[in-house]
Amino acid sequence: MNTLTDFFSFSDPNIRFVVIGAMLLTASSAIVGTFTFLHKKSLVGDAIAHAVLPGICLGFILSGTKNPAYLIIGAFITGWLSLAAVEFITRRTRIKEDTAIGLVLSVFFGIGIVMLTVIQKSGNAAQSGLDHFLFGKAAALVGEDLMVFGTVAVILLFCVFLLFKEFSLLAFDKAYAQSIGLPVRRIELVLTSLIVLAVVIGIQAVGVVLMAAILITPAAAARFWTHRISVMVLLASLFGAFSGLAGAYISYIAPAMPTGPWIVIVISTIAFISFFLAPRRGVISRMIRQRAIRRTINNENVLKTLYQLGEESKNFFLPRTEADIIHKRSYPSPLLTAVLHRLRRQGYVERIGTTWQLTEEGMSRGQRVVRIHRLWELYLTTHVNIAPDHVHDDADTIEHLLTPELETELERLLNYPTVDPHQAEIPYKKPV
């Protein structure tokens, strides 16, 4: 038996419902979630997710059925109420938004749990399965659910498509949006309604507790990979859809595995990977860049030391032992050996027996570092008015950093000086 082909042939209508339903849910909440994330409303998403529970119970009590339409209406109402409560508390009292969210979240959720318990104890046969809203029931989605999800997903997409530029502007600079006369309150109202809608639908798959994760995590993961909102929305929805698919597949091959939590685990893994691997913003690429910088600094420091030794003995190309170098400037011995070997491979020094000798290129690079160091010291004393005994450490960093353009500018600004504040000669390349 091949589970993979069985699964992806979608011949079983149940699999079809679960997969399509899960992907619709995760992708559309990821799209709305991107704007939630950019509006810095991530916590609000969590509050809404918890606050819809009493609404669902209320919808059931009043209608007496589990018809999703009634439950969604109930959920929508209490979800909205919770937001109004948060806004009221932050406006009218000195309580800050995060505290207000915490407060509202727990009160609404508490009421929801009480109502759920009451319903379950009531002996009403129709109630069985209502607790699915706590942890989701993605594996039990049926055709009827798909109709509802599909409709909501289309509404969400349509609104985001229409109001894309408004949502973006509001997230970046609300005061400006107001100044050009955009109906800021109404646009925010639409966005909040979309968040509530996405949450109300999403909790049927993953439940109240995990909802915030499928709303926000895809956006957080996408942010690592791009600097453009449109790409970010696209990526977030792809990440979301993939986690929906993966969650459904995992619970298909291992039926004891719940779909909702697996969706969350997959999307969290994607976020985790993005955190480490993404170019530029990711941790690993930052580490690699740091490492490259450290190497350059070590290389240049050793070349500088060799150059300075050459200055002292007026011969830059005398072979030096490692002890000579350490005597001039202390390095851990294994590090120095490693750096020297690297410099040899790069053609800046040559090895003669146990001694090391600068090549022409090594001499000129060491000279450049020394030159920039002294120029910078001079610049700091003459143009920035820093005392001569305070400038050395600064120059130690700048000497590895300055681009050739800035170097030229510095030389011009200082009018090609010959000595630094400590009367050391500023070396220039001999014209050939």
């Binding site: 950019l38 229409l162 109001l163 530029k165 408004e166 973006s168 502007l169 997230a171 970046f172 600079d173 005061a175 400006y176 949006a177 107001q178 100044s179 050009i180 006369g181 955009l182 109906p183 942010r223 791009t226 600097h227 453009r228 909102i229 970010m232």
Partner: protein, 269 residues
Amino acid sequence: MQPEITTTPALEVHDLTVAFDRKPVLWNIDLKLPAGKLIGIIGPNGAGKSTLIKATMGLLPLSSGYVRLYDQPIDNVRNRISYVPQRESVDWDFPASVMDVVLMGRYGKLGLFRRVRQADRDVALDCLRKVGMEAYANRQISQLSGGQQQRTFLARALAQQADIYFMDEPFAGVDAATEKAIIGLLQAMTEAQKTVIVVHHDLQSVTHYFDWVIMLNTRLVACGPTETTFTQQNLQETYGGKLTLLSDVGDLIRRENFPNREGVSKPVL
């Protein structure tokens, strides 16, 4: 105190009071500004300069008074005004390019739902050129220096092609050469009958830059042509001595939970 303006004023502020958390930070401001002038707002930190701009543009609730632009309520002339907020007011680690930000200046003209068109891009690029930022059009805004951020905001305001500009410290973090270039640009704009209102901190340059000045310290000290208004005495009044009484009364209003400017009655002074 203020010279009469014969033509319709570009901006009229009448008895404007603004309070935060009940404490008034601007008291009974009355002023009229002529069109086609470069106007500086000066005053110490916390004087309410930003607040005056925001309140004028209708971004803050007023405790009293009204504002009229070109003799109309502000909401009728939104498309004629343009705003450069203080640079620190936004999060620059936002996924957008310089071009994206400048294009926001076109959103007012475009209106709801409509997409940005090629013509808008042309305008945006032109404005970037005016502030010397065309080379940075595709740069991520998180990678800009402070001065470049400021110029991006300026380009966005220019892209609005408005008649009256409110700029909150557009020269903060901008180097001297750029400041000169921008002032030249603003002066050219006023020659084309645009009105430009600039919050400014460098008192040395006030007489060189501005046709008019508004001198502000919680209340209006003076407002008028620079030659007659920017005097030693007015400066003394604006910057010298804290207005302790005014701020004490403000604190009192908050502490005692006083009603916030009921009806048209004046605050107790």
